[in-house]
């Protein structure tokens, strides 16, 4: 790389350093500090990490369970949809690909409020089930529950799973699948031995996007989660209400470390997927 190229990269590097690297370093340092009467006090203590790991174990369990469920559901549904668009839809593929993209045009909050009107006790779903006589009284488990959080997030994140998987599938030539079929491979074998290995990058990308966005989300649990809290709901007040930035920072880094662990584990697992 010559000096001109480096010079051209300098602004991007500067912005990245100033707005991403520097804040991360600042909050990492802060995570060892203390707060006394609404004032930050420099220190070097692990007490915030100890608190983060002791107090919030059930919250971490719930958060990562929901994130795993949402990410895996999005990946599976994304595979199905992208596969249909790529291999079966023919001339309708452009239209079918545009449909999930259209859902991205609506605002995030609009989607959450839409699910409020669908899943609520007087919502569309309960109304339909009551009117058909399938239930006698409204189902409360549909709303203000982890299920409601998962449904809302799957709906929101599915396009982010479909797009990278579809992009990977575009690299698979029809002739490869035809050749496999001619050699006697059934649909499952073709899926397992050709499609999945060739889409590995797209699958991992989809998983990472859906998993991390779910872990960090704190608005959906507030609006449809009822009495459940995810880790974002516990970190936000440390910054917004309690002014315990060091604890909030420590909780964030613990969350980050666990998330990296999950992502690494998924990437390793998927790398073991080999054609038979």
């Amino acid at each position: 790389m010559n000096w001109k190229s480096r010079l051209l990269l300098a602004p991007a590097f500067g912005v990245f350093t100033l707005f991403f690297v520097a804040p991360v370093i600042y909050f990492f340092v802060l995570s060892f500090w203390r707060v006394r009467l609404y004032k930050l006090s420099p220190d070097f203590s692990w007490v915030n990490y100890a608190k983060a790991l002791e107090r919030y174990v059930p919250i971490y369990q719930l958060t990562f369970s929901v994130a795993l469920a949402v990410a895996l559901t999005c990946v599976m549904l994304g595979m199905l949809y992208a596969g249909f668009v790529r291999f079966k839809a023919g001339r309708w593929s452009v239209v079918l690909l545009f449909i999930p993209l259209m859902t991205l045009f609506g605002g995030y909050l609009v989607k959450i409020y839409a699910w409020k009107t669908i899943l609520g006790i007087n919502g569309i779903l309960n109304g339909a089930l009551l009117s058909t006589g399938l239930i006698d009284e409204p189902m409360t488990a549909l709303f203000y529950s982890p299920l409601a959080v998962a449904i809302t997030l799957v709906y929101f994140l599915l396009p982010f799973a479909i797009l990278p998987i579809y992009a990977s599938m575009r690299g698979i030539e029809d002739i490869e699948l035809d050749a496999a079929r001619d050699l006697g491979a059934g649909p499952l074998r073709r899926f397992s031995d050709i499609i999945v290995p060739r889409c590995r990058a797209g699958i991992v990308s989809a998983f990472i996007i859906c998993f991390l966005l779910t872990v960090g989300d704190y608005v959906t649990p507030i609006l449809v989660g009822g009495k459940i809290s995810m880790i974002g709901n516990m970190i936000t007040p440390q910054f917004g209400q309690k002014f315990d930035w060091p604890l909030g920072a420590a909780m964030s880094f613990v969350t980050l470390a666990i998330s990296v662990g999950f992502v690494a584990a998924f990437s390793i697992l998927i790398s073991f997927w080999r054609p038979r």
């Binding site: 009467l37 609404y38 004032k39 107090r55 919030y56 174990v57 059930p58 919250i59 409020k116 609520g120 006790i121 007087n122 409360t140 709303f143 203000y144 507030i222 609006l223 009822g226 009495k227 809290s229 709901n233 516990m234 007040p237 910054f239 917004g240 209400q241 309690k242 002014f243």
Partner: protein, 380 residues
């Protein structure tokens, strides 16, 4: 000749857009923009940054006060009083003018050097404030006034009369009944929730002065109740929304103004003060240290204590008011909401508790410990 000179529009355009003309035009434009900006600034209103509960800013907008003084309010709504402290600490000093904390927070905020003392001469309407509020020990620190009390109330239980019929709830413990399981909600208000839990489930004489054991009992009670609840809302508005949509039929703790929030969404709910009692609160206008518009802030504190503003708070927001002159002018319906004639009767159901200790002392848990224990409730 004239025809020749102007025969082509292109010629005219080219000759005008010479470099010299362009420079002249840009210079003239810059001067014009600068002048128009200066004139606009001269005519624009002073923006008052206020951190308050949703709806409190309306009390300052009553009448023509803001227009008369070329003021406009830029409100930031809070979900808990703690947010006021954080917003001031996290860069708000020097930009935030007014905050409206609960009286218990005032000594803490003074100790943290967050508040400007109030020049009483600049708030003549303070003279109309009932002595019980004007002399609240929380708002005077070292002989200086730091808060102008303007509204008060208690934490009631809100309930849906369509669900309860004649058997309206009378006790906080009614929420433990199996028939209400999954049908009531909390607001995420640490001090309020712990205080009511302490009233109901502990033997503490003062519900905000708890030993470690009593604090643990209160939190255990809240966790038990959370197991039966449907919702822990992050704001009063969200709790009101859940009531309006029929998701819940009762609340643990509440705010009288929620009745209006729910009514605005087309549903009628009522509130009651359960027999075990509840906490009362007194909210105040406070001026933040280094506030950019000190003189205007004093005028605003005075305005919110005027008869017209106080009547709006009492009649439309359904909150208690502090000005005797305004109480005398209330409609009979609004006056009947609170025992203005006999505050002792109100005290039988709702108590103005002191703030929890700022530090552990005499075996009592500090506010820091309250917040730590409350995290156990949130995590449960």
């Amino acid at each position: 000749m004239t025809d020749n000179n102007n025969k082509s529009g292109l010629f005219v355009t080219r000759s005008f857009v010479s470099r010299r003309n362009m420079m002249k035009g840009m210079a003239a434009g810059t001067v014009g923009l600068a002048l128009s900006g200066a004139m606009a600034r001269a005519q624009s209103n002073t923006s008052i940054n206020m951190v308050c509960w949703q709806g409190y800013d309306d009390a300052f907008k009553v009448g023509s006060f803001l227009a008369d003084n070329n003021l406009e309010i830029n409100p930031t709504y809070i979900g808990s009083n703690d947010e006021i402290l954080t917003k001031i600490t996290a860069g708000g000093r020097g930009s935030i003018d007014i905050v409206t904390p609960y009286m218990g927070y005032v000594p803490l905020m003074v100790a943290a050097d967050m508040l400007e003392s109030i020049d009483e001469a600049g708030v003549p309407n303070l003279a109309n404030v009932l002595p019980v509020f004007r002399n609240d020990p929380n708002i005077m620190v070292d002989g200086k006034l730091y808060a102008a009390p303007f509204t008060w109330g208690a934490a009631p239980m809100l309930y849906d009369p369509a669900h309860f019929g004649d058997a309206i709830p009378t006790s906080w413990r009614d929420l433990e009944k199996p028939e209400l399981e999954g049908k009531f909600g909390f607001s995420d208000d640490p001090i309020g929730n712990i205080t009511i839990a302490a009233i109901v489930a502990t033997d503490a004489e003062v519900a905000t002065e708890l030993t470690e054991a009593q604090l643990k009992e209160a939190i255990d009670y809240l966790i038990m109740l959370k197991g039966k609840a449907r919702l822990v809302a992050t704001s009063w508005g969200e709790l009101a929304d859940a009531m309006a949509r029929g998701e819940i039929v009762a609340t643990f703790s509440g705010w009288e103004t929620m009745k209006k929030f729910v009514a605005d969404k087309g549903k009628q709910v009522e509130f009651t003060y359960p027999k075990e009692g509840t906490f009362a609160w007194l909210d105040n206008v406070c001026i933040v240290k280094d506030a950019p518009n000190l003189e205007a802030n004093l005028k605003m504190a005075n305005h919110v204590l005027s008869i017209e503003s106080q009547r709006m708070v009492g009649e439309e927001m359904l909150q208690g008011i502090v000005s005797q002159a305004a109480i005398d002018a209330l409609t009979p319906e609004a006056a009947a909401l609170y025992p203005y004639e006999n505050m002792e009767a109100f005290g039988a159901n709702a108590t103005f508790f002191p703030f929890p200790p700022l530090e552990d002392r005499d075996g009592l848990a500090s506010i820091g410990r309250w917040n730590e224990e409350y995290e156990r409730f949130k995590s449960a």
